[in-house]
Subunit: 608 residues, 2 copies
């Protein structure tokens, strides 16, 4: 496809764009994925691959979920048909998939740093290094750190930053920088004004120097993005229409010849060319699938996010101090509902995870009851804030962690590592929810505790569990009582349901297991655990094998005679792929059937 792209006459490129876009819509509607942003930058990606000598010249995408056209152009058409499937390709860029992907990119904001590394590695190389960064990433710490570093770095003359400005991170941008970007439209009126002033002043010889300065400074006066980036040492160009190949290609050709770090401001339309996605880009940001023609989606079956949304609204009615903080995930976490009802009590801080938590710590120290909503994988970016700004001062921030556990998106998005760190942090309580029916009570429990609490729950809905058991601080819940000396199955989150299923299966082998829900990972219910010393204990958890329940139990029993503890969890020795959760679990031996078989084998039991 790359050959074709570079060979075709300019006039035929829009047709190619249409083809790419329809392939994207087709695959995403079937497999799920990021539709609106990917549709929005088809032309931009085509223009980049046409003008630059990829892969010798490298394109770094800031979040690879916009890079579907890039995948199609670089030999991944077959795999793309099974986008995000276990036997298909990843929804993000990764060098393990293609030589055209210079970096892993699933967490927003990293492109510029990685691109600068490439620039610096060979500062005088003639090849350009391109970083495509979203306007949402402009509020993200690591992007800003890199922007600060960029121009002062030897080798940055190789850098071309493409600011892909679609006017929203996921659901609309926040912050002063985004406001500044939006003021770019004054450009045209500025240009007129400047010519008029220059004409008027030119005859006055004393002002000659002033006019020259005005020419430079004028940009800054009327183009806030220009002054911003030029202060940072980047030459600013734009804004150009990022869905118009006729504008993009010649502009990029000119920029390629410039021997300075440059930034091209490109305005793209999220969802461009896909009617329904363009009409509601937030709805079609990341989807599980839809009708390719109408965009119709299966009705959401509720699940934890929705339970969280409802619980927040309900609690807010009772607790006037309750507030919500969120780093650019209002939709995904369900907080949008709260934001609409209590706009003054909801803070979307943009893609700024560290700031979100430290800001929430400030709210809490000032007497508010903040609940900060994250995806598990993005909390990884703010672990220091959990320790330094929340736990050390013991300020009562509740961190609601959605998407805990392995997710279809793959390694950049799995929520299976944080507990390892959180379990080591003093003053912290870590709770895992087994079913959405527990949400309201758990949230109220966490907020009322006036302690720093991490409340974790998986994506989607949990399978049914028997009855709602009130939360008692630090206490595990016995979900099924088995016979003394028979196996004990420990689990938390969704895996409580798996454990119950396994327990049911094992009855066919003559085993009457206990199922214990370790809803408090920290503090761990040592007392309950010690009662099971005579039983073989099996841990089923949607977390890395180290740092969760299995580690806690192993430590508790390290010097206590016991009958053995076994882990069913994700390996810490290999990267867990993307794909359907069922297939990922089966491949790792973590589905109920595999676990049943393994336990039965260990116990040398046969079906009765």
């Amino acid at each position: 496809m790359l050959d074709k792209l570079r060979r075709l006459p300019l006039a035929e490129l829009p047709g190619m764009a249409e083809e790419l876009r329809s392939t994207i819509i087709d695959s995403v509607s079937r497999n799920g994925g990021h539709l609106a942003s990917s549709c929005g930058c088809v032309e931009l990606i085509m223009a980049l691959h046409r003008v630059f000598d990829t892969p010798a010249e490298k394109i770094f995408f800031d979040v690879g979920h916009q890079a579907y056209a890039h995948k199609l152009l670089t030999g991944r058409e077959e795999g793309f048909k099974k986008l995000r499937r276990y036997d298909g390709i990843s929804g993000f860029t990764t060098p393990l998939e293609s030589g055209f992907d210079p970096a892993v990119s699933g967490h927003a904001g990293t492109a510029l740093s990685a691109a600068l590394g490439h620039c610096a590695a060979d500062p005088d190389a003639p090849e350009k290094v391109i970083a495509v960064i979203g306007d949402g990433s402009m509020g993200c710490g690591v992007t800003l750190e890199a922007l600060n570093h960029a121009a002062t770095l030897k080798g940055s003359k190789r850098l071309i930053v493409i600011l892909n400005d679609n006017r929203m991170s996921i659901s609309g941008n926040v912050g002063a920088l985004s406001k500044a970007l939006n003021r770019v439209m004054a450009a045209k009126s500025y240009n007129k004004f400047r010519s008029r002033v220059i004409k008027m002043l030119s005859p006055l010889p004393k002002l000659k120097n002033f006019v020259a300065r005005l020419n430079e400074a004028g940009k800054s006066m009327f183009l806030p993005p220009a002054l911003l980036f030029e202060t940072l040492g980047l030459r600013y160009f734009g804004a150009v229409d990022g869905n118009d190949l006729q504008q993009l290609i010649p502009t990029l050709e000119r920029l390629r010849k410039i021997d300075d770090p440059v930034l091209l401001h490109v305005i793209t339309q999220k969802g461009y060319g896909c009617e329904f996605a363009q009409a509601d880009p937030t709805k079609y940001h990341g989807i599980s699938g839809c009708d390719p023609d109408t965009g119709e989606m299966a009705v959401n079956n509720g699940g934890f996010s929705e339970a969280f949304a409802a619980a927040m609204v309900d609690l807010a009615e009772k607790d006037p101090e309750l507030q919500a903080v969120c780093p650019a995930m209002l939709e995904g976490t369900g907080l949008r509902k709260f934001a609409e009802k209590f706009p003054d009590r909801c803070f979307d801080v943009g893609i700024a995870e560290e700031h979100a938590l430290t800001f929430a710590a400030g709210l809490a120290a000032a007497g508010k009851h903040p609940v900060c909503a994250f995806y598990d994988t993005f909390l990884q970016r703010a672990l220091d804030a959990v320790y330094h700004d929340i736990a050390l001062a013991k300020v009562p921030v509740v961190i609601a962690v959605d998407r805990a556990g392995v997710v279809a998106d793959g390694p950049t998005h799995h929520g299976i590592y944080n507990c390892a760190f959180l379990r080591a942090i003093p003053n912290l309580t870590v709770i895992n929810l087994a079913a959405e029916c527990e949400m309201a009570e758990a949230l109220e429990f966490a907020v009322k505790s006036r302690l720093p609490v991490v409340l974790r729950y998986p994506k989607g809905g949990g399978a049914a569990i028997p009855g709602l058991v009130p939360f008692e601080y630090g206490k595990a819940v016995i979900r099924k009582s088995g016979k003394s000396g028979e196996p004990v199955l420990w689990a938390s989150g969704k895996e409580v349901a798996t454990a119950l299923e396994v327990a049911g299966n094992l009855e066919k082998y003559g085993c009457c297991c206990t199922v214990a829900d370790a809803r408090f990972l920290k503090p761990f219910d040592r007392e309950t655990a010690l009662k099971f010393a005579d039983s073989q204990q099996f841990v089923i958890e949607d977390h890395c094998e180290t740092g969760g329940i299995y580690s806690a139990l192993s430590e508790i029993f390290s010097a206590v005679p016991h009958a053995g503890i076994y882990s069913f969890a994700w390996s810490a020795e290999k990267v867990i792929s993307h794909g359907e959760i069922g297939k990922l679990k089966a491949a790792a031996g973590l589905d109920a059937a595999s676990i049943t078989e393994k336990i039965a084998g260990l116990m040398q039991k046969k079906p009765i």
Copy 2:
């Protein structure tokens, strides 16, 4: 002291400043601490407490190590005599110590986020909220995230940002923002120029509107910091001399009346009023102690940082691809030496931990051999980059981690939590060094492995260990062979020496222990461990009790019959204080004597 400060006539304040400064020099010279920055902002802190109604109006310090004068003014004179001692006060701010400290601040860059939380908690409160941020923090992600958020936040009219610009983070600033700040001196010439132009243009009626615009925009033309902050929606004032109370006090009084978010640019002199610190502020940034009159310091006894410095220089001679990356710790990590010898191969990226690692990942992906030097506590801020940007793509970045373990500075600086997270991350190798004589070999081993490696070592020097044992991937080292069935002492890092001491002590109880150095925490030497199933195993580690060797062993033996595993490590249930390491260890029962006694007791042995 606060009363006195507010009562004294203006003319007598410099005398008070001198007293405060001499108290600071006296205590820091005896106890160690941060001298240069604290001396530099005595006047600034006095002016703030004089003008603002503290503690109702709150001052957030961005890194509390500059806040010594604040501590003295707010009732902590007695404790300050024992600054950073176990029975004295902390070297940083913390609400657990005083109601005048609204937040914990040991990691740079958090003040603005926390202050914004306070503003937002009660947006219409009349009290101002003051955030004192260093120029070094201007390159730090979380500060930049907060800056972006600030002006768009309801309640930010309460915010007064004091940009305490001492022209260096620790050892000189980097980046475009810092360059922009330094261009502030054009201010005077700008003011002259502007008056001249305005006079000249005023008679031309058509240009009236233009003149008004010029007045606003002019600032931006000639004052890069102004344009920057005003783009971000903060009203910029300055720069004023931050060591001049006569300038500071009236300026702050005026700012207090403004109902907008403002930023005051204050230029302070690092080390001001302390001759030797002013002459070499980098040397006197953080010290262990010195002669209070001359600044003479005890000769550094080498230690791990120096060994690292030497090893880097040596390896760079052999390996032309070796490069160094560091987030503002060139001095502390010893990299300054490398930077001087190989300026083109050393990147100090400023206080930008995430960017440092992602940038290094870029260097590595482009074929370089980057070594990224951190303090352990600051690596906490970049754990996501370890996973997302380094481990997932398996790019060969070596992360050299200094100050691993508990340090005198206290909870904000202990390096005892990261291993818990790192141990869960695939594709990662984690090595702990027991003595500085191992550094050169370990570093070369790590770089040559072409794998992502974390190389950890403590502050200062390790006690002697017998002989240098070559590094074999994933293999533990038996430092002392004991009798079969007798206790095995596991340790890593400096604690290998402790374990040897304990083993020596236990001989007096008739025990002939084995000492095993688990230098590879990941992958852990399972094979060696399993050989010791018949021995009681005791783990001595300078890490949180969860996430290190003890967890690894507990997991390995979770389903294997064994004689018991016991941990001597830092509690995950309580915050570890500041103070002399010896006292901290003794209080936690982690010194050799306590450990010996505990083990002997467990084994029911008496001295022979």
